[in-house]
């Protein structure tokens, strides 16, 4: 989304810069922990051990990462068309309705592998539908997607409350949520995958949606870099004028891009609704839609970058929980501050160290000819 100050070598652009940002974020977060009167090193150690130290922790880390891969991809696809979709939260939320419909309808009659494709289709469909309206308004009426998508988050939230409190809640139940899905609405875990590595997955809700997320990474890569549609999408992202001159149908590309973006966000619901809770609950997205923005920024909007970025945020979520299990002084809100700092440095302030790095590389590069690959559009 930003103009680079100077061209960096690819490895510096994709590895060094994000790494520097994360390290700085952790240093500042360490100060926060220090202020709270605890040892930052101990907190860091708890976080890493909690996220990677044992099978169940890894399972949780990957479970959270699955959410962020979907929402990260959703934001990334829209970025390539220079659309800023911040409605991932609402699109995922509405995608949950699709999952719930599939599961509530089929769970008692068929095994999960019949329900799963239906749920994928419906969640993607509902998510796409929720993004279609802002996309249409952007393409045809020029209403900025930033405004419309964020407003649609609120509409989604009200819609879900209505549905869960008045329509989907079983009579007599206290919590506003659907009934628990039967066997046919529950996705199998990927515990066996962790067991292959000799790890005990415990109760981690790490499930088959993770594989779907990886498939989607591949498909997004094919779509954006290997198809005609992707070429048009990127062209439009780089320059509206050029796209129009080339005879690209602007409105069609914008609407389709938003729908694909919404579909990816909508599929996130599978992970929580069918993979973990086995019921549709209020507020299940819990900020994953917004984390997706940071993930896409850190991952440079490329699937290969999004996966590690999503895992990093998975670590923050899972490791953060571990810190508050063992360090009572570090409250839930401090964990949110630490997560926020990482988002701040990795996302919003990602250009902070770029000039310094660029001039450093410029000095080295002047003597040796620099053969950096052109940066992919971010």
């Amino acid at each position: 989304m930003s103009t680079p100050y100077a061209k960096l070598p690819a490895w510096a652009e994709y590895v060094l810069l994000p790494f520097v940002n994360v390290v700085v974020a952790f240093l500042v977060a360490g100060l926060v922990v220090l202020l709270a009167g605890d040892s930052p090193l101990h907190a860091f150690q708890l976080m890493i051990e909690g996220a990677f130290g044992y099978g169940e922790g890894i399972g949780y880390t990957l479970y959270y990462a699955t959410n962020f891969i979907f929402t990260g991809l959703a934001v990334a696809v829209a970025f390539h068309c220079s659309l800023f979709n911040i409605g991932g939260e609402g699109q995922a939320y509405v995608g949950g309705i699709g999952v719930a419909i599939a599961a509530l309808w089929l769970d008692r009659f068929v095994p999960w592998w019949v329900t799963f494709p239906v749920a994928i289709a419906l969640s993607a469909g509902f998510g796409a539908l929720w993004a279609f309206i802002p996309g249409y308004l952007q393409a045809k009426r020029g209403s900025h997607v930033v405004i419309t998508t964020i407003m649609f988050n609120f509409i989604a939230s009200s819609l879900m409350v209505y549905l869960l409190v008045h329509v989907l809640k079983p009579v007599g139940a206290m919590a506003p949520q659907t009934r628990t899905f039967a066997e046919g609405g529950q996705l199998p875990t990927l515990g066996w995958l962790l067991k292959l590595f000799g790890l005990n997955p415990g109760i981690a809700p790490f499930n088959i949606t993770f594989l779907l997320a990886l498939v989607m990474c591949f498909l997004v890569w094919v779509l954006v870099w290997r198809t005609r549609f992707g070429y048009e999408l990127r062209t439009l992202g780089f320059s509206r004028g050029a796209a129009r001159y080339a005879g690209i149908n602007e409105a069609k590309i914008i609407i389709l891009t938003m729908m694909i973006s919404g579909a990816l966000a909508g599929m996130m619901a599978l992970n929580n609704v069918m993979g973990d809770q086995f019921r549709l609950q209020l507020d299940f997205v819990n900020g994953a839609g917004f984390v997706g923005i940071a993930v896409a920024l850190m991952g440079r909007s490329h699937p290969l970058g999004i996966i590690p970025a999503a895992i990093l945020f998975g670590v923050l979520y899972q490791g953060g929980a571990e810190i508050s299990f063992d360090m009572p002084e570090i409250s839930r809100d401090m964990i949110v501050i630490i997560q926020g700092l990482v988002i701040l440095f990795a996302g919003a302030l990602e250009n902070m160290f770029r000039p310094a790095l660029a001039s450093a590389f410029g000095r080295i590069g002047r003597s040796r000819r620099d053969v950096a690959a052109p940066a992919a559009g971010e």
């Binding site: 051990e49 130290g53 959270y64 409350v161 009579v171 206290m174 109760i203 979520y317 809100d333 949110v336």
Partner: protein, 339 residues
């Protein structure tokens, strides 16, 4: 790093396998967090009180998302925490699946019923307490119009609303009850500004006593009614002191007592033989002082003897079964509603 990790794992394994039953009390709050000034905070206060009296520290945790429910429960159970008290009905499913796997740990869930051998389910008769609040509201009202402001529109709050309307109609058949919810999202529990605006609009419609069953949003109602020299009724914790002279009473739900009691029982049980911790359903109503209305120095000028008498009379009748307060949850409807 690796060695440290192994030590940690070994330690965890040791502590899990050590003694079957220890007394290591723990509380896990719901998403509202322990400083919500109302429901979760009441649980925290109960645990604090126990700590002050016995000197035994407790462990607590605030979850940040639903996926952490089972994770936290198992983590605590594995670490040998006992009893583990969870606060809020959203915990029911997690307890249901975790409790049977840790038969040596006692669990206590507040506001929901879970059927398992080692679970004590504590529920409160909110409609009964709200009924008494309704009687007081109707008697204090000069305009024969009273208000109700709920938090988020969920069945639990409808329960409060229905009992309250019943009480109002009991004391004043023709009184009008204005009802509103602060919102439909979880933000509604913590939006005092909006709740205050709703209170103002109800006062414009001549309501002069307003019952706020809205968690953190209630403070806005208390403020608005006090500014207009009208009366409010607080909820969950005793909120009479928040606007002295303008809070008619508070409908208290003794979550703190339930938590403290659970800790005490378990301490005793561990001391004895580990078998005597009472599990099963524990429904706390007026008879057990689990719910009720508060009379203290902050509202003594507002409450007349007649009111006290009427409340006492209704209380006895509810306890004896002469008055049956309708529970909204049994059929998702409220028979008192007519105006």
């Amino acid at each position: 790093m690796k060695r440290l990790l192994l030590t940690a794992v070994a330690l965890a394994a040791l502590s899990a396998g050590a003694v079957a039953k220890d007394f290591k009390p723990a509380v896990i709050y719901d998403m509202g967090g322990k400083n919500d000034k109302s429901f979760n905070e009441a649980a925290y206060n109960g645990a604090q009180k126990f700590k002050k009296e016995t000197g035994v520290d407790f462990r607590d945790f605030e979850i940040a998302n639903d996926a952490q429910r089972e994770q936290a429960l198992r983590r605590f159970a594995r670490d040998g925490d006992n009893p583990i008290v969870v606060v809020g009905f959203s915990w029911a499913n997690a307890i249901q699946s975790v409790a049977p796997k840790y038969p040596d740990t006692d669990f206590v869930i507040i506001d929901a019923t879970v059927d398992a051998k080692n679970v004590r389910s504590v529920t409160f008769a909110e409609p009964e307490g709200s009924y008494l609040a309704g009687i007081m509201a109707a008697m204090a009202s000069k305009t024969h119009t009273v208000g109700f402001i709920g938090g988020m529109d969920v069945p639990l709050i409808r329960k409060f609303e229905c009992g309250y309307i019943g009480g109002v109609k009991h004391a004043d058949k023709d009184a009008k009850v204005l009802t509103a919810m602060t919102g439909t999202t979880p933000d509604a529990w913590n939006d005092p500004v909006k709740a205050g605006e709703i209170a103002k609009s109800q006062m414009d419609q001549s309501a002069d006593v307003i019952y706020a069953a809205a968690g953190g949003s209630g403070t806005g109602v208390l403020q608005a009614t006090a500014d207009a020299s009208k009366l409010a009724i607080g909820v969950d914790s005793n909120q009479n002191y928040m606007q002295p002279g303008h809070v008619l009473t508070s409908m208290v739900k003794r979550v703190d007592v339930a938590v403290e009691q659970a800790f005490k029982d378990e301490q005793q049980a561990v001391k004895d033989d580990g078998k005597s911790f009472k599990t099963g359903e524990q429904h706390l109503g007026l008879a057990d002082n689990g719910v009720g209305v508060v009379f203290d120095k902050y509202n003594k000028d507002l409450v007349t003897d007649k009111m006290k008498q009427a409340v006492e009379e209704a209380k006895q009748k509810i306890i004896s079964g002469d008055i049956k307060v309708h529970d909204y949850l049994t059929d998702d409807s409220c028979p008192y509603q007519s105006s």
